[in-house]
């Protein structure tokens, strides 16, 4: 899967309270949650995002709570992928399970706000079209690729039990 979009840079340890504050955990709708994505630390983030953009973050992205509302909010505000130096464990699970594409790369510091990126998820390659550079990323193991290819965990499970899959 190839993804193209504009980079929005965030720092280290972006936590789940940053991504979606607890007061919004009364909704399960990605669009509604998306309106409040990163509100506490970047009040203008949502207004600056165009559909298809990419978040580029430092280490430990998504640390804190297990709230699946976090990757839902990121999806809901139009972000189509996240690249970070490392991901927190539960956020990692949630992103895989709901089908939010993401990649781990040590070379993200080089990417600037607004750079145009092209991401090859299966190959683990990030191209910076603005700076004409290529970075390597951790490609997912086969098991996770299968879940992603199915469009998330529930679809993957439904396929296993031969239930019809909703997209």
């Amino acid at each position: 899967m190839i993804i193209r979009g504009k980079a929005h840079k965030l720092g280290d340890d972006i936590n789940t309270d940053d991504i979606i504050a607890a007061k919004y955990l009364v909704s399960t709708d990605a669009q509604e949650l998306g309106k409040h994505c990163l509100e506490s630390i970047r009040p203008d983030f949502v207004s600056r995002v165009s559909a298809g953009d990419i978040v580029v973050a430092g280490k430990n992205f998504g640390c804190g709570s297990s709230r699946e509302h976090a990757p839902l909010a990121i999806k809901g505000c139009g972000i189509q992928a996240v690249v970070a130096k490392s991901f927190a464990g539960i956020f990692f699970r949630n992103a895989i399970n709901i089908g939010l594409p993401f990649l781990e790369s040590a070379e993200v510091d080089d990417i600037q706000e607004g750079d145009s990126l092209e991401i090859d998820l299966a190959g683990g390659i990030i191209k910076n079209l603005t700076q004409n550079k290529t970075y390597s990323a951790q490609a997912f193991p086969e098991f996770l690729q299968e879940i992603i290819a199915a469009g998330g965990l529930i679809n993957y499970i439904k396929r296993r039990y031969n239930l019809s899959v909703q997209h």
Binding site: S66, G89, G152, I154, Y161
Partner: protein, 476 residues
């Protein structure tokens, strides 16, 4: 090559002959937990997947019937726990709707372990109290502090709502087998220093991603002497260092705790309490003694082997003499921003919270009450004390602790997660500063993004409520 305790537990819940860190496995869980903010998503995903009226093709599963009749049933109604504790008692209309979704689902699916307001408590204190988790169990919870049960020698880990939905369907969960970090604590703890300080010390040393995607194994002579409540506080905050689990090998202290829980759950008095007010059978949400009788409390082979092998491989071993440790405080806005309480006496407070899944247990309340007895809190300061379960609430009342808190000028609340995550029962506005016995102090955690949260043990919290500034308990 030997296994760590966490590898053994994972392996025991699969059909595999062997297990190694880094590999992906699917395992059968003993328990799957959700609360009022995480279960609604899981319930919706579950229903969308198997309550569609279509006929599934593959046999051998409660949710998936082969005879063409679609089944909208959870894999095992005894292995699911639903606790409305975060925004409950319902803080507003939408929270009430979420709570109702749990109640309705529990009723439809005949889920025994649904704890309505009146039975409910903070989930990670409630489940051990009810004997629902024990040594060697594999527990998943749609809540990051599920790692708390690691204190009992369970492999307990936080997952998301979709993981929970999947577990509702077939009782399984995917895991990446994590490497283990060993922490060995030696020496002797000072007065006023406990499990909370040990874990704050640890997170301060290794950082909020110092155990990223690893299992933290807490060991050493200090741990061997540590009471259960302090062990729960430690394991509870393993997630704050990025860990998948925070596990303590079960020993005589664990074993005695589990025995005591089983005793108190099946005592005649308790059976009377369990009956509904009309004298009928136990209501939905009250754990049956039969369930607890099935729990492995004897020193059988399973329990005996719940230790890491002497040749188990660890990513890293940390060994620390904690004899000089003082009470610690995590400063805004990360749990690793740790300083001694004695260095923070200039920090003025608007609010103190004593409670949460970290430090809302009876021994926490006893420590706080000992300090607050016959004292008054600082004028203008709000002291909010939240016992974690109804049992703890009643114990605190019986022991006169509730009276101490109220007479000191504080409030004594019904069990709830409440202010810990900025839900209700004590939100901070712009510029306000709170010292809490909770587990997280990110920006905006307890309310306004322009508020400040410090984390401490209950003794520091109680002492600070009196002076109105962060205070070492020795000063009182």
């Amino acid at each position: 090559m030997g296994y760590t305790i966490s590898e053994k537990i994972l392996l025991a819940h699969t059909d595999k002959k062997d297990i190694k860190p880094g590999e992906f496995i699917e395992a059968d869980v003993d328990l799957a937990l959700g609360n009022d903010i995480t279960a609604p998503l899981a319930i919706a995903e579950f229903k969308k997947a198997v309550c569609t009226g279509q006929s599934p093709q593959k046999a051998g599963h409660p949710s998936i019937k082969y005879d063409g009749v679609p089944s909208c049933k959870v894999f095992d109604r005894k292995k699911i726990v639903l606790v409305p504790d975060h925004f409950a008692p319902a803080k507003d209309l939408r929270s009430a709707n979420q709570c109702k979704e749990l109640a309705d689902f529990a009723r439809e699916q005949k889920i025994e372990n649904y704890f309505e307001v009146g039975c409910m408590g903070i989930e990670h204190v409630l489940l051990p109290e009810k004997g629902l988790v024990g040594p060697g169990d594999l527990v998943i919870g749609a809540d990051s502090h599920t790692c708390t049960y690691g204190a009992l020698g369970a492999y307990a880990t936080g997952v998301g709502s979709t993981d929970l939905a999947r577990a509702f369907i077939d009782g399984k969960c995917w895991f990446k087998v994590a490497r283990s970090l060993k922490f060995v604590y030696t020496g002797k703890l000072n007065k006023w220093v406990g499990g909370k300080d040990l874990i704050l010390y640890t997170i301060g040393k290794i950082g909020v991603d110092g155990a990223l995607y690893m299992v933290m194994e807490f060991s050493g002579e200090v741990i061997r002497r540590l009471p259960m409540d302090d062990r729960f506080a430690m394991s509870n905050m393993a997630i704050e260092a990025g860990a998948r689990a925070g596990i303590i090998e079960p020993d005589d202290i664990t074993f005695e705790y589990v025995r005591e829980v089983t005793r108190s759950q099946s005592s005649a008095e308790n059976r009377r309490d369990l009956a509904s007010k009309t004298g009928g059978p136990p209501k939905i949400g009250e754990t049956s003694p039969a369930k607890l009788a099935g729990h492995k409390v004897t020193k059988d082979k399973k329990f005996g082997s719940l230790k890491s092998d002497s040749d188990a491989v660890y990513e890293k071993v940390y060994e620390w003499d904690v004899s000089k440790l003082e009470p610690l405080v995590a400063c805004p806005h990360l749990p690793c921003n740790v300083k001694p309480a004695s260095e923070l006496k200039d920090i003025k407070l608007d609010q103190v919270v004593i409670g949460s899944c970290t430090n809302g247990r009876i021994s926490d309340l006893r420590i706080a009450a000992k300090i607050l007895k016959n004292k008054k809190i600082k004028s203008g300061l709000r002291l909010i004390v939240i016992p974690a379960t109804q049992k703890i609430y009643l114990e605190a009342v019986k022991e006169g602790l509730a009276q101490i808190f109220v007479e000191a000028g504080g409030i004594f609340s019904t069990p709830t997660c409440g202010p810990c995550l900025g839900g209700h029962m004590g939100i901070l506005t712009e510029g306000e500063v709170c010292l809490a016995t909770t587990n997280r102090n990110f920006i905006g955690r307890m309310g306004s993004p322009q508020s400040f949260v410090y984390l401490s043990n209950p003794a520091v919290a109680a002492a600070s409520a009196i002076t109105g500034r962060i205070t070492h308990p020795e000063k009182i």
